[in-house]
Symmetry: C2
Subunit: 177 residues, 2 copies
Protein backbone atom coordinates (compact mmCIF):
# COMPACT_ATOMS: atom_id res chain seq x y z
CA UNK A 1 0.00 0.00 0.00
CA UNK A 2 2.83 2.38 0.86
CA UNK A 3 4.35 1.63 -2.51
CA UNK A 4 1.02 2.24 -4.19
CA UNK A 5 0.70 5.60 -2.51
CA UNK A 6 4.23 6.52 -3.52
CA UNK A 7 3.43 5.62 -7.11
CA UNK A 8 0.26 7.64 -6.94
CA UNK A 9 2.19 10.63 -5.64
CA UNK A 10 4.77 10.26 -8.39
CA UNK A 11 2.06 10.02 -11.01
CA UNK A 12 0.49 13.15 -9.66
CA UNK A 13 3.80 14.94 -9.83
CA UNK A 14 4.04 14.01 -13.49
CA UNK A 15 0.48 15.09 -14.15
CA UNK A 16 1.21 18.38 -12.42
CA UNK A 17 3.82 19.39 -14.97
CA UNK A 18 1.51 20.34 -17.84
CA UNK A 19 -0.61 22.35 -15.41
CA UNK A 20 2.45 24.28 -14.30
CA UNK A 21 3.46 25.02 -17.91
CA UNK A 22 -0.02 26.24 -18.76
CA UNK A 23 0.02 28.48 -15.71
CA UNK A 24 3.42 29.85 -16.72
CA UNK A 25 2.02 30.87 -20.12
CA UNK A 26 -0.63 32.87 -18.33
CA UNK A 27 2.08 34.51 -16.25
CA UNK A 28 3.30 36.32 -19.37
CA UNK A 29 -0.14 37.84 -19.94
CA UNK A 30 -1.03 38.88 -16.35
CA UNK A 31 1.98 38.27 -14.10
CA UNK A 32 0.70 39.09 -10.58
CA UNK A 33 -2.61 37.24 -10.75
CA UNK A 34 -1.09 34.11 -12.28
CA UNK A 35 1.56 33.86 -9.58
CA UNK A 36 -1.25 34.00 -7.05
CA UNK A 37 -3.24 31.46 -9.02
CA UNK A 38 -0.25 29.15 -9.06
CA UNK A 39 0.20 29.48 -5.32
CA UNK A 40 -3.50 28.79 -4.78
CA UNK A 41 -3.32 25.79 -7.04
CA UNK A 42 -0.30 24.53 -5.16
CA UNK A 43 -2.11 25.03 -1.85
CA UNK A 44 -5.19 23.21 -3.14
CA UNK A 45 -3.05 20.42 -4.53
CA UNK A 46 -1.29 19.82 -1.22
CA UNK A 47 -4.54 20.16 0.67
CA UNK A 48 -6.01 17.38 -1.46
CA UNK A 49 -2.90 15.28 -1.06
CA UNK A 50 -3.00 15.85 2.69
CA UNK A 51 -6.67 14.93 2.97
CA UNK A 52 -6.15 11.83 0.89
CA UNK A 53 -3.12 10.75 2.94
CA UNK A 54 -5.09 11.34 6.12
CA UNK A 55 -8.01 9.23 4.90
CA UNK A 56 -5.62 6.54 3.72
CA UNK A 57 -3.96 6.55 7.14
CA UNK A 58 -7.31 5.95 8.80
CA UNK A 59 -8.02 3.11 6.38
CA UNK A 60 -4.69 1.47 7.14
CA UNK A 61 -5.34 1.82 10.86
CA UNK A 62 -8.82 0.29 10.55
CA UNK A 63 -7.65 -2.61 8.39
CA UNK A 64 -4.74 -3.25 10.72
CA UNK A 65 -7.10 -3.41 13.72
CA UNK A 66 -9.45 -5.79 11.94
CA UNK A 67 -6.57 -8.01 10.93
CA UNK A 68 -5.17 -8.04 14.46
CA UNK A 69 -8.55 -9.00 15.90
CA UNK A 70 -8.91 -11.85 13.42
CA UNK A 71 -5.37 -13.10 14.12
CA UNK A 72 -6.12 -13.03 17.84
CA UNK A 73 -9.45 -14.79 17.48
CA UNK A 74 -8.13 -17.64 15.37
CA UNK A 75 -4.58 -17.74 16.73
CA UNK A 76 -4.93 -21.31 18.09
CA UNK A 77 -6.25 -22.74 14.84
CA UNK A 78 -3.09 -24.49 13.62
CA UNK A 79 -2.05 -26.05 16.92
CA UNK A 80 -5.65 -27.03 17.75
CA UNK A 81 -6.02 -28.82 14.41
CA UNK A 82 -2.84 -30.80 15.06
CA UNK A 83 -3.98 -31.85 18.54
CA UNK A 84 -7.26 -33.36 17.37
CA UNK A 85 -5.74 -36.74 16.31
CA UNK A 86 -4.32 -37.15 19.84
CA UNK A 87 -7.79 -36.59 21.20
CA UNK A 88 -9.12 -39.28 18.83
CA UNK A 89 -6.44 -41.71 20.00
CA UNK A 90 -7.23 -41.10 23.67
CA UNK A 91 -10.90 -41.74 22.92
CA UNK A 92 -10.06 -44.96 21.09
CA UNK A 93 -7.80 -46.08 23.97
CA UNK A 94 -10.69 -45.61 26.41
CA UNK A 95 -12.96 -47.73 24.19
CA UNK A 96 -10.56 -50.70 24.28
CA UNK A 97 -11.98 -53.49 26.42
CA UNK A 98 -9.99 -54.86 29.33
CA UNK A 99 -7.96 -51.79 30.26
CA UNK A 100 -7.51 -51.42 34.01
CA UNK A 101 -9.48 -48.84 35.97
CA UNK A 102 -6.29 -46.95 36.83
CA UNK A 103 -5.21 -46.67 33.22
CA UNK A 104 -8.71 -45.59 32.17
CA UNK A 105 -8.68 -42.92 34.88
CA UNK A 106 -5.28 -41.65 33.74
CA UNK A 107 -6.35 -41.50 30.09
CA UNK A 108 -9.62 -39.75 31.04
CA UNK A 109 -7.65 -37.14 32.95
CA UNK A 110 -5.41 -36.35 29.99
CA UNK A 111 -8.44 -36.30 27.70
CA UNK A 112 -10.37 -33.90 29.98
CA UNK A 113 -7.40 -31.60 30.34
CA UNK A 114 -6.88 -31.44 26.56
CA UNK A 115 -10.58 -30.78 25.96
CA UNK A 116 -10.52 -28.07 28.64
CA UNK A 117 -7.42 -26.41 27.09
CA UNK A 118 -9.07 -26.41 23.66
CA UNK A 119 -12.34 -25.09 25.08
CA UNK A 120 -10.59 -22.17 26.75
CA UNK A 121 -9.16 -21.26 23.35
CA UNK A 122 -12.61 -21.36 21.73
CA UNK A 123 -12.54 -24.92 20.31
CA UNK A 124 -15.75 -26.91 20.71
CA UNK A 125 -17.23 -30.14 19.37
CA UNK A 126 -19.43 -29.82 16.32
CA UNK A 127 -23.09 -30.41 17.24
CA UNK A 128 -24.58 -33.53 15.61
CA UNK A 129 -28.33 -33.08 15.61
CA UNK A 130 -29.76 -32.94 12.08
CA UNK A 131 -27.34 -33.56 9.22
CA UNK A 132 -25.69 -30.33 8.05
CA UNK A 133 -23.31 -30.57 5.10
CA UNK A 134 -21.49 -27.49 6.42
CA UNK A 135 -20.50 -29.30 9.61
CA UNK A 136 -20.75 -33.01 8.83
CA UNK A 137 -19.32 -35.42 6.31
CA UNK A 138 -21.53 -38.43 5.48
CA UNK A 139 -19.10 -41.34 5.10
CA UNK A 140 -21.89 -43.93 5.04
CA UNK A 141 -25.68 -43.90 4.55
CA UNK A 142 -28.50 -46.08 5.83
CA UNK A 143 -31.97 -46.30 4.27
CA UNK A 144 -34.38 -43.90 6.00
CA UNK A 145 -37.65 -45.31 7.38
CA UNK A 146 -40.57 -44.21 9.57
CA UNK A 147 -38.49 -44.33 12.75
CA UNK A 148 -35.41 -42.77 11.10
CA UNK A 149 -36.36 -39.92 8.76
CA UNK A 150 -33.91 -38.74 6.12
CA UNK A 151 -31.05 -36.52 7.37
CA UNK A 152 -31.12 -38.08 10.82
CA UNK A 153 -27.60 -38.92 12.01
CA UNK A 154 -27.31 -42.62 12.86
CA UNK A 155 -23.77 -42.63 14.23
CA UNK A 156 -20.76 -40.35 14.71
CA UNK A 157 -17.62 -42.15 13.56
CA UNK A 158 -15.28 -39.26 14.35
CA UNK A 159 -16.08 -36.04 16.20
CA UNK A 160 -15.88 -32.72 14.40
CA UNK A 161 -14.46 -29.56 15.93
CA UNK A 162 -14.81 -25.84 15.33
CA UNK A 163 -12.87 -22.80 16.53
CA UNK A 164 -15.52 -20.18 17.28
CA UNK A 165 -17.48 -20.03 14.00
CA UNK A 166 -14.71 -21.62 11.92
CA UNK A 167 -14.79 -25.37 11.18
CA UNK A 168 -11.52 -27.15 12.04
CA UNK A 169 -12.73 -30.48 10.70
CA UNK A 170 -16.20 -31.88 9.97
CA UNK A 171 -17.76 -34.69 12.01
CA UNK A 172 -17.65 -38.02 10.16
CA UNK A 173 -21.16 -39.47 10.35
CA UNK A 174 -23.44 -42.25 9.20
CA UNK A 175 -26.68 -40.69 8.01
CA UNK A 176 -30.18 -41.95 7.11
CA UNK A 177 -30.99 -41.13 3.55
CA UNK B 1 -2.65 7.10 16.92
CA UNK B 2 -5.38 8.36 14.57
CA UNK B 3 -6.81 10.28 17.52
CA UNK B 4 -3.40 11.75 18.23
CA UNK B 5 -3.03 12.87 14.65
CA UNK B 6 -6.50 14.38 14.72
CA UNK B 7 -5.60 16.29 17.87
CA UNK B 8 -2.40 17.46 16.27
CA UNK B 9 -4.29 18.65 13.23
CA UNK B 10 -6.83 20.46 15.39
CA UNK B 11 -4.07 22.11 17.37
CA UNK B 12 -2.46 23.25 14.17
CA UNK B 13 -5.75 24.72 13.02
CA UNK B 14 -5.91 26.71 16.22
CA UNK B 15 -2.32 27.81 15.88
CA UNK B 16 -3.02 28.84 12.31
CA UNK B 17 -5.58 31.43 13.29
CA UNK B 18 -3.20 34.08 14.65
CA UNK B 19 -1.03 33.67 11.57
CA UNK B 20 -4.03 34.34 9.33
CA UNK B 21 -4.99 37.46 11.31
CA UNK B 22 -1.45 38.79 11.11
CA UNK B 23 -1.44 38.19 7.40
CA UNK B 24 -4.78 40.00 7.05
CA UNK B 25 -3.30 43.06 8.72
CA UNK B 26 -0.56 43.08 6.12
CA UNK B 27 -3.21 42.86 3.41
CA UNK B 28 -4.39 46.35 4.29
CA UNK B 29 -0.87 47.76 3.77
CA UNK B 30 0.05 45.95 0.53
CA UNK B 31 -2.98 43.97 -0.69
CA UNK B 32 -1.63 42.04 -3.75
CA UNK B 33 1.64 40.80 -2.26
CA UNK B 34 0.04 39.72 1.00
CA UNK B 35 -2.63 37.69 -0.73
CA UNK B 36 0.13 35.87 -2.56
CA UNK B 37 2.05 35.46 0.67
CA UNK B 38 -1.03 33.99 2.29
CA UNK B 39 -1.53 31.55 -0.55
CA UNK B 40 2.12 30.53 -0.36
CA UNK B 41 1.86 30.06 3.37
CA UNK B 42 -1.24 27.97 2.92
CA UNK B 43 0.53 25.87 0.28
CA UNK B 44 3.54 25.39 2.55
CA UNK B 45 1.32 24.55 5.48
CA UNK B 46 -0.54 21.83 3.57
CA UNK B 47 2.68 20.55 2.09
CA UNK B 48 4.05 20.07 5.61
CA UNK B 49 0.82 18.48 6.78
CA UNK B 50 0.87 16.18 3.77
CA UNK B 51 4.50 15.17 4.33
CA UNK B 52 3.86 14.53 7.99
CA UNK B 53 0.72 12.48 7.28
CA UNK B 54 2.65 10.51 4.70
CA UNK B 55 5.48 9.76 7.16
CA UNK B 56 2.98 8.89 9.86
CA UNK B 57 1.23 6.53 7.45
CA UNK B 58 4.50 4.71 6.80
CA UNK B 59 5.12 4.44 10.55
CA UNK B 60 1.68 2.95 11.11
CA UNK B 61 2.26 0.48 8.31
CA UNK B 62 5.66 -0.55 9.70
CA UNK B 63 4.37 -0.96 13.26
CA UNK B 64 1.35 -2.89 12.03
CA UNK B 65 3.63 -5.29 10.11
CA UNK B 66 5.87 -5.83 13.11
CA UNK B 67 2.88 -6.46 15.33
CA UNK B 68 1.39 -8.93 12.87
CA UNK B 69 4.66 -10.84 12.62
CA UNK B 70 4.91 -11.08 16.41
CA UNK B 71 1.28 -12.23 16.71
CA UNK B 72 1.94 -14.89 14.07
CA UNK B 73 5.18 -16.06 15.66
CA UNK B 74 3.71 -16.47 19.14
CA UNK B 75 0.15 -17.32 18.16
CA UNK B 76 0.25 -20.82 19.71
CA UNK B 77 1.56 -19.61 23.06
CA UNK B 78 -1.67 -19.81 25.08
CA UNK B 79 -2.87 -23.17 23.81
CA UNK B 80 0.64 -24.66 24.00
CA UNK B 81 0.99 -23.60 27.64
CA UNK B 82 -2.32 -25.27 28.49
CA UNK B 83 -1.32 -28.52 26.79
CA UNK B 84 1.89 -28.98 28.78
CA UNK B 85 0.19 -30.53 31.85
CA UNK B 86 -1.34 -33.22 29.59
CA UNK B 87 2.13 -33.98 28.33
CA UNK B 88 3.35 -34.29 31.95
CA UNK B 89 0.51 -36.68 32.73
CA UNK B 90 1.28 -38.88 29.73
CA UNK B 91 4.90 -39.02 30.82
CA UNK B 92 3.90 -39.98 34.35
CA UNK B 93 1.51 -42.65 33.03
CA UNK B 94 4.37 -44.21 31.05
CA UNK B 95 6.55 -44.28 34.18
CA UNK B 96 3.97 -46.32 36.12
CA UNK B 97 5.16 -49.90 36.59
CA UNK B 98 3.04 -52.79 35.42
CA UNK B 99 1.16 -51.15 32.55
CA UNK B 100 0.70 -53.49 29.62
CA UNK B 101 2.77 -53.16 26.48
CA UNK B 102 -0.31 -52.24 24.43
CA UNK B 103 -1.30 -49.44 26.77
CA UNK B 104 2.28 -48.12 26.87
CA UNK B 105 2.34 -48.15 23.07
CA UNK B 106 -0.93 -46.24 22.90
CA UNK B 107 0.22 -43.62 25.41
CA UNK B 108 3.56 -43.24 23.60
CA UNK B 109 1.71 -42.64 20.37
CA UNK B 110 -0.41 -39.87 21.85
CA UNK B 111 2.66 -38.38 23.51
CA UNK B 112 4.68 -38.39 20.27
CA UNK B 113 1.84 -36.87 18.31
CA UNK B 114 1.41 -34.04 20.88
CA UNK B 115 5.17 -33.37 20.95
CA UNK B 116 5.20 -33.32 17.13
CA UNK B 117 2.25 -30.89 16.98
CA UNK B 118 3.97 -28.57 19.46
CA UNK B 119 7.28 -28.83 17.62
CA UNK B 120 5.65 -27.85 14.32
CA UNK B 121 4.36 -24.72 16.04
CA UNK B 122 7.84 -23.86 17.38
CA UNK B 123 7.57 -25.35 20.88
CA UNK B 124 10.67 -27.22 22.09
CA UNK B 125 11.98 -28.65 25.35
CA UNK B 126 14.25 -26.39 27.35
CA UNK B 127 17.87 -27.68 27.25
CA UNK B 128 19.17 -28.81 30.64
CA UNK B 129 22.95 -28.70 30.45
CA UNK B 130 24.47 -26.20 32.90
CA UNK B 131 22.06 -24.49 35.31
CA UNK B 132 20.62 -21.27 33.83
CA UNK B 133 18.27 -19.25 36.01
CA UNK B 134 16.61 -17.88 32.85
CA UNK B 135 15.47 -21.37 31.84
CA UNK B 136 15.52 -23.48 35.00
CA UNK B 137 13.97 -23.32 38.42
CA UNK B 138 16.01 -24.99 41.20
CA UNK B 139 13.42 -26.64 43.43
CA UNK B 140 16.05 -28.59 45.38
CA UNK B 141 19.84 -28.45 45.84
CA UNK B 142 22.49 -31.05 46.56
CA UNK B 143 25.97 -30.30 47.92
CA UNK B 144 28.51 -29.95 45.09
CA UNK B 145 31.67 -32.13 45.19
CA UNK B 146 34.59 -33.02 42.92
CA UNK B 147 32.44 -35.22 40.69
CA UNK B 148 29.51 -32.78 40.67
CA UNK B 149 30.67 -29.17 40.37
CA UNK B 150 28.34 -26.33 41.35
CA UNK B 151 25.60 -25.47 38.82
CA UNK B 152 25.51 -29.02 37.45
CA UNK B 153 21.95 -30.27 37.07
CA UNK B 154 21.40 -33.48 39.07
CA UNK B 155 17.85 -34.26 37.99
CA UNK B 156 14.97 -32.82 35.96
CA UNK B 157 11.74 -33.09 37.95
CA UNK B 158 9.56 -31.45 35.29
CA UNK B 159 10.53 -30.54 31.73
CA UNK B 160 10.58 -26.91 30.68
CA UNK B 161 9.31 -25.66 27.31
CA UNK B 162 9.89 -22.64 25.13
CA UNK B 163 8.11 -21.19 22.10
CA UNK B 164 10.91 -20.03 19.78
CA UNK B 165 12.93 -17.72 22.06
CA UNK B 166 10.11 -17.21 24.57
CA UNK B 167 9.99 -19.36 27.74
CA UNK B 168 6.61 -21.04 28.28
CA UNK B 169 7.64 -22.54 31.62
CA UNK B 170 11.03 -23.22 33.24
CA UNK B 171 12.37 -26.73 33.82
CA UNK B 172 12.09 -27.77 37.48
CA UNK B 173 15.50 -29.14 38.43
CA UNK B 174 17.63 -30.43 41.29
CA UNK B 175 20.98 -28.66 41.13
CA UNK B 176 24.41 -29.11 42.76
CA UNK B 177 25.35 -26.06 44.76
Amino acid sequence: MTEEVKDEVQNEDLQDQPVVEEAEKKVEEAPEKSELELANERAEDFENKYLRAHAEMQNIQRRSNEERQSLQRYRSQDLAKKILPSLDNLERALAVEGISEDVAKGISMVQDSLIQALKEEGVTEVAVEAFDHNLHMAVQTLPADDDHPADTIAQVLQKGYQLHDRLLRPAMVVVYN
